[in-house]
């Protein structure tokens, strides 16, 4: 399938990408393209211009910066999955990256692209929200708590480009997802992060947008064990229902994934 016509422009720097965005009528940023290009092939998206930011060197890095791990927006999933720096600081994040899509998708897809797209079943949003990360753009810093605003929607404004994600290094963390047996997308995925002060729980795949579960967070902050949350029922209201799973089933799976994630984080 062939997308509608558009103009392709490769940006060599963030400044150049900003300028190209400003000049185009209805431009979209192209990062790994593993969702955007598929969408354009279906002709569900028809940008006038594609500004390719995936090969900007200043957006491709993984480094430890004090108590945080900082990842450039155009860093590929495969690079996060294989990174020693990630393994030494937040191994759960590397394991999560290894679970995204398939090897070919991981060679192209980027963390910035995943966050900007905010697919309801995407993996990275759960990690970024549970870990209390900060998303930095060409204009400002946005707390993960304020970033994900709804299904496929974020706090990003027109002309805003994610440059990096700064992730506080937790004491313990783990991610568990129940994959759809055919597509392997998360039907329910739970990322749990424990810091000195508290535990944060983020759920993806279950609802229209990644969300935190305050009741589980409070219980796990008091007692970090699967037993602490075994009696907490996840509310099926507002969860997704489709041919793959009803809202009630997703609610159930969310609890199971949460307990498994606590177990593997505590191990």
């Amino acid at each position: 399938m062939i997308p509608y016509a558009f103009n392709y422009k490769k940006a060599k720097s963030v400044a150049e990408a900003e300028a190209l965005l400003k000049d185009a009528a209805e431009a979209k940023l192209l990062a790994g393209g593993q969702t955007l290009i598929a969408t354009m092939k279906m002709r569900l998206a028809s940008p006038s211009d594609l500004i390719d930011i995936s090969q900007i060197p200043e957006l491709q890095f993984i480094r430890k910066d004090g108590a945080a791990l900082v990842i450039g927006a155009a860093t590929r999933h495969a690079d996060v999955a294989e990174s020693k720096e990630v393994e030494n600081t937040i191994p759960a994040l590397g394991a999560l990256a290894q679970m995204i899509g398939d090897p070919a998708v991981r060679h192209m897809g980027t963390i910035g692209g995943s966050l900007a797209n905010n697919d309801p079943a995407a993996d990275y949003p759960a990690a970024v929200l549970a870990l209390g990360a900060t998303i930095r753009t060409n204009r400002r810093s946005i707390a993960a708590d304020d970033f994900f605003t709804g299904m496929f929607s974020t706090a990003l404004k027109d002309g805003e480009i994610i440059t990096e994600v700064s992730i506080p290094i937790p004491e313990r963390a783990a991610y568990e997802k129940f994959r759809n047996p055919a597509s392997r997308y998360a039907m329910a995925g739970v990322f749990i992060a424990k810091t000195k002060e508290r535990v944060r729980v983020a759920v993806t795949g279950s609802g229209p947008c990644v969300f935190r579960h305050p009741e589980m967070e409070a219980a796990l902050t008091r007692n970090f064990s699967p037993e602490a949350i075994k009696d907490i029922a996840v509310d099926a209201n507002n969860l997704n229902s489709d041919i793959h799973a009803s809202a009630e089933y997703r609610a159930h799976l969310t609890g199971v994934m949460a307990r498994r994630a606590v177990q593997s984080a505590a191990a």
């Binding site: 399938m1 062939i2 997308p3 509608y4 016509a5 558009f6 103009n7 392709y8 490769k10 192209l30 393209g33 593993q34 290009i37 598929a38 092939k41 279906m42 594609l50 390719d52 995936s54 495969a78 899509g101 398939d102 090897p103 070919a104 998708v105 060679h107 192209m108 392997r184």
Partner: protein
């Protein structure tokens, strides 16, 4: 239209294509390298897998312009001096194909996973094959072929 140049199977190539041209069409229609297949159009089947700067990617989900100045290897670039690549040999010896439509993508994916050291056991080979769909074989012989190829390549490397 813009002129997109890259290196494909070791040869410098160039074509004047529309910006919306996907890499797979650039390879098939401009270069006439039709070994790279289009199986699904929805980025799921992996019949179009090629190597971009040495890494497996789906050529139906990347524009030719993105691969400008890059090195691309397709199934046509594997055989050397009339001799098949060890992974191609292993697919033949293990009957790793029936209709053969998915085979180019399977082989490009297999080489990539072997290079990354992920073809260590049948389970991990199956995981690595997540992005490649075969509708004939049930994967059993494909997994055997990759396991065999991985062994042969390790032995060849040790012998060198």
């Amino acid at each position: 239209m813009s002129v997109v140049s890259m290196t494909v199977n070791g040869k410098k190539v160039s074509a004047d294509v529309e910006d919306r041209t996907l890499l797979v069409y650039y390879l098939r229609e401009n270069l006439r390298l039709t070994g790279t297949h289009i199986g699904c159009d929805t980025s799921q089947c992996g019949a179009c897998v090629v190597h971009l700067n040495g890494k497996a990617v789906k050529s139906c989900t990347i524009f030719a312009a993105q691969a400008a100045d890059a090195e691309v290897t397709t199934i046509e670039g594997l055989a050397r001096d009339g001799r098949l690549h060890p992974v191609q040999d292993a697919f033949r010896d293990n009957h790793g194909l029936q209709c053969g439509f998915c085979t180019p993508g399977m082989i490009m994916t297999a080489i990539d996973m072997i290079r990354r050291g992920k073809a260590t056991d049948r389970d991990s080979i199956r995981h690595e094959l997540e992005g490649n769909i075969c509708r004939c074989t049930g994967y059993h012989n494909i997994v055997s072929a990759i396991e065999d190829a991985s062994r042969r390549m390790a032995m060849a490397e040790a012998a060198e």
